[in-house]
């Protein structure tokens, strides 16, 4: 993604727009990360802005030199044009994550690669979080799905978001874009007969389509056994698009057999927005009220195709300006009860 693709609000107000938003925004990835002592991460994340364009090989296999990943043997996932482009699965790709506790964060004794803001306050290791049952989408939201939203609502989005084939993860979406998509999809699913009855029933009784919190995201990605990567603790690149040169279609690397909850691309491909405000300190088991007078940053999870293995660990916490539209940030969906 080159810097020209970065969202800018240029000065058009003949003196009324007092600062260069582009230069501000380019700094925005850094503060939250700097607070967390993750300069390395911030450098790598920003570095990926200038990496090879993600869509350079759209439609083809990953580039040579991509991680030692297991190429997909099973057929690529298919999507339903009559169901907003959602996966052709009984529950439209939503996977149930059973309620209960899980180990969150990182213990530096077990995971020397971990960053400081993954360590819980107190003893500085991991903590237990108990979550009720929720659902999370098996795949990252695709361009096809996002296109359906744009066509239905007329929302103005970054044109780069819709450039690649429909099976690729949508990128160049801001946090509000992602939230707007979830809001639209919820409305559609609530009223459409296409929605599986059980899902529709849930949505009409207080459940919401939204972004996952970072706790929901992490539990879905690592299961309940505290693993470091979705596929286990081994520091080898599993079936994921990591340290590569370009994006791949969602689910291109078949991780269903080895990854927690059978989810795809929880590591790699694109960073994923969550609905948790970013703070420089560790999660600590509760989401504290954000400082309303500080500039907003929101947590993103999961690393990207352009990041090294250690940044694709499930406990890694990135923070980004909600207005950032980058070629390595996308999102996935959750269905939770209010």
């Amino acid at each position: 993604m080159n810097r020209a693709s970065y969202t800018t609000r240029d000065e058009t107000g003949m003196g009324r727009k007092p600062r260069d938003r582009a230069s501000m925004a380019s700094d925005r990835m850094i503060p939250g990360l700097r607070n967390s002592g993750m300069m390395l991460l911030s450098a790598i994340v920003l570095g990926s802005v200038t990496a090879t364009p993600g869509h350079a090989q759209a439609g083809g296999p990953p580039a040579r030199g991509a991680p030692q990943a297991t190429a997909r043997m099973a057929p690529l996932p298919t999507f339903r044009a009559d169901a907003w482009g959602l996966p052709d699965e009984p529950q439209l790709g939503f996977v149930e994550i059973s309620g209960g506790p899980f180990l969150m964060g990182s213990d530096p004794r077990l995971d020397p690669e971990s960053f400081e803001n993954e360590h819980w306050p107190g003893d500085g290791t991991m903590g237990t979080v108990d979550l009720p049952t929720y659902y999370i989408s098996r795949y990252e939201v695709t361009i096809g799905q996002f296109r359906a939203f744009v066509e239905a609502t007329g929302r103005t989005v970054d044109p780069q978001a819709l450039l690649a084939p429909d099976s690729y993860p949508v990128i160049f979406v801001s946090w509000p874009d992602a939230v707007a998509y979830t809001r639209w999809l919820e409305g559609e699913m609530k009223k459409s007969a296409t929605t599986p009855p059980a899902l529709r029933e849930m949505l009409n009784t207080g459940w919401r389509v939204t972004l996952p919190t970072e706790a929901e995201w992490e539990k879905a990605a690592r299961g309940t056994d505290g693993r470091i990567f979705p596929w286990g603790d081994e520091e080898i690149a599993g079936p994921a698009n990591i340290a590569g040169r370009s994006l791949t279609p969602v689910g291109y690397f078949d991780c269903s057999a080895v990854c927690a909850n059978g989810l795809e691309d929880m590591s790699g491909n694109v960073w994923e927005w969550t609905r948790t405000p970013f703070s420089g300190t560790g999660y600590g088991g509760v989401t504290t009220a954000p400082d309303l007078e500080a500039d907003a940053l929101w947590v993103m999870r999961g690393g990207s195709y352009a990041d090294a293995l250690n940044l694709n660990r499930v406990a890694v916490r990135g923070g980004a300006d909600p207005g950032a539209r980058r070629g390595f940030i996308g999102f996935r969906l959750a269905i939770t009860r209010d």
Partner: protein
């Protein structure tokens, strides 16, 4: 005209036919043809400016200039052909500059320089100064069109400073944006043609009805408003950035005194200002809120009082006539402000729309005041005839009036309406128009990138208290607030059911406290919060007190 120097063919004697006899020697038409050199020089200048960085930076501007040059060349050649064919003689007369042109032009130029210095973008460029080559191009075009029209219709074109005040006056109010810059030339052509063709008899002389610049500005404003195309110009930006120049009211006042001294327009300006001030004061007394948002008389209106309505040719000449004209202008600006606002049109055009209509009413005003008996009191007030001494007396009254307005804080300096908390409280107290103004102000600040303001506008659309409830609009404003990193906006996106509010951040305050456009980006935070406290932000006062 103090001296006359003629080139080319001697003008025919007054009253004699200008058409050459059929068998006239060929020397007559040939010697008349040189007059097209003048518009051709203007065309060359236009073309040269089209090659400048300013014009080439915006392709449409360069094309507009080249199009204007081509039009001038074509009309010049047509004139040449006509001259040769008919044998009609034409000449150009170079006269000394007329005071009413060059003094007004110098005052206008000084305003450009002063205002232009303070309107500076964050990248260091000054839009007014960048406009200079394009103003020069407009001058060249105006001279060319003026000359061509004159030479078609009359035996001579009198070269003077006339186009300067026309072009300067137009550019002090309206620039078309680069994509539509060709319309700037159309506007000038309309102004010049209006002066040439729309005439009537007044006091035994054939004179133009409309002030050329005011006619063009008024007509184009009307078209822009009626076609909802007001976004094609920089008009509102020009009007709002005038306040960037420190003590701009005082500056305009002093410049206006020069014009008043020479052209005895004091009564006109003073009565218009007094009318606006009086109506505004009455409105405030009745409603508790200022009529004009953040000023007693908008800066651009104050400028118009001195330079737009004061053309002696198109305004009444008698003192009572000037008083009536001034009162009508003040009242019409006051009324148009509300009328335009109620139609959702930019209120900026209030000062431009009325002038042509007032020009049209001049004969009626003359007739009306002619019947007023001149009493001794009128004579004592210098209202019987506009003599120099009487004008000086009126100027002294105007100076006292302006000093009084300034002492009351009604010119330069902070205005009640600059404070958003004032409008918030006025809205809570359900004062007339206050909620509408609050929404307008916050929407403007949102457009200027204040996340706080976007969140507030979203909140209003969620709550539906001061405007109709609109969930989609609210979501749009929360989205913008969030993208501007205003956290409450993000939270409102996630949970539209409950509205989260917070105080403005330092960055928001830098936008909210500008009082019309000051650049506060580099103001240290302690000073910023002190300023916010002065503007009525209670949280800022607490912060200032806490820091002590």
């Amino acid at each position: 005209m103090t001296s006359t120097r003629q080139h080319g063919v001697q003008p025919p004697e007054r009253g004699k036919a200008t058409r050459a006899p059929r068998n006239a020697p060929p020397s007559t038409p040939r010697s008349s043809g040189w007059v097209i050199v003048f518009p051709l020089i203007a065309a060359v200048l236009l073309f040269a400016i089209s090659l400048s960085d300013r014009a080439r930076g915006a392709g449409t501007v360069a094309l507009s200039l080249q199009g204007a040059a081509v039009a001038v060349v074509a009309l010049s050649l047509a004139l040449l052909v006509w001259l040769r064919k008919t044998g009609v003689t034409r000449t150009i007369e170079f006269t000394g500059a007329r005071k009413q042109h060059y003094i007004q032009a110098m005052v206008q130029l000084s305003i450009f320089l002063y205002w232009g210095w303070y309107w500076q973008l964050t990248n260091g460029t000054r839009p007014v100064y960048l406009m200079a080559p394009l103003i020069l191009a407009q001058l060249a075009f105006a001279y060319a069109i003026d000359a061509l029209v004159s030479l078609w219709r009359r035996e001579k074109y009198v070269f003077g400073f006339g186009p300067f005040p026309i072009i300067f006056s137009i550019n002090l109010f309206l620039w078309f944006r680069d994509d539509w810059f060709y319309l700037q030339f159309v506007m000038i052509a309309v102004g010049v043609l209006g002066k040439e063709f729309i005439r009537w008899e007044r006091e035994g002389r054939k004179v133009h009805i409309f002030n050329p610049s005011a006619f063009a500005l008024g007509l184009f404003s009307l078209i822009l408003v009626l076609t909802s195309s007001t976004g094609m110009t920089w008009g509102p930006e020009i009007a709002s950035t005038l306040r960037l120049a420190p003590r701009i009211y005082l500056y305009l006042f002093l410049g206006g005194l020069v014009v008043m001294y020479f052209f005895r327009i004091t009564l006109l300006t003073m009565t218009a200002a007094a009318t606006l001030f009086g109506l505004g004061a009455a409105y405030y007394a009745i409603t508790g809120v200022p009529y004009f948002l953040d000023t007693e008389i908008p800066t651009a209106v104050f400028l118009g009082l001195h330079l737009l309505i004061t053309d002696p040719s198109t305004s009444p000449r008698t003192p009572p006539g000037k008083i009536v004209f001034g009162v009508l202008y003040g009242a019409s600006v006051f009324g148009l402000y509300t009328i335009l606002g109620s139609f959702g049109a930019p209120t900026f055009y209030d000062k431009l729309l009325a002038v042509p209509l007032l020009n049209l009413s001049v004969r009626w005003i003359d007739r009306m005041v002619a019947g007023i008996p001149v009493t001794s009191i009128w004579k004592k007030l210098g209202l019987d005839a506009l003599e120099h001494r009487a004008n000086l007396m009126h100027m002294s009254v105007w100076i006292a009036f302006f000093a009084g307005m300034t002492l009351l804080g009604k010119t330069d300096g902070r205005h009640t309406g600059d404070s958003l908390p004032f409008w918030g409280e006025a809205c809570s107290n359900e004062l007339p128009n206050a909620c509408k103004r609050l929404l307008l102000l916050e929407t403007t600040y949102c457009t200027d990138n204040s996340g706080w303001a976007c969140n507030e506008v979203g909140r209003h659309y969620t709550e539906g208290r001061i405007t109709a409830m609109n969930e989609d609009r609210a979501f749009g404003y929360y989205s913008r607030a969030c993208e501007l990193r205003y956290q409450a906006g993000c939270l409102n996106l996630l949970d539209p059911g409950s509205v989260t509010e917070a105080n403005p951040r330092a960055f928001d305050l830098r936008l909210l406290l500008r009082e019309g456009g000051l650049n506060l980006l580099d103001m240290p935070e302690p000073q910023l919060y002190t300023r916010a406290c002065e503007h009525g932000w209670a949280f800022a006062c607490n912060r200032v007190a806490g820091a002590l």
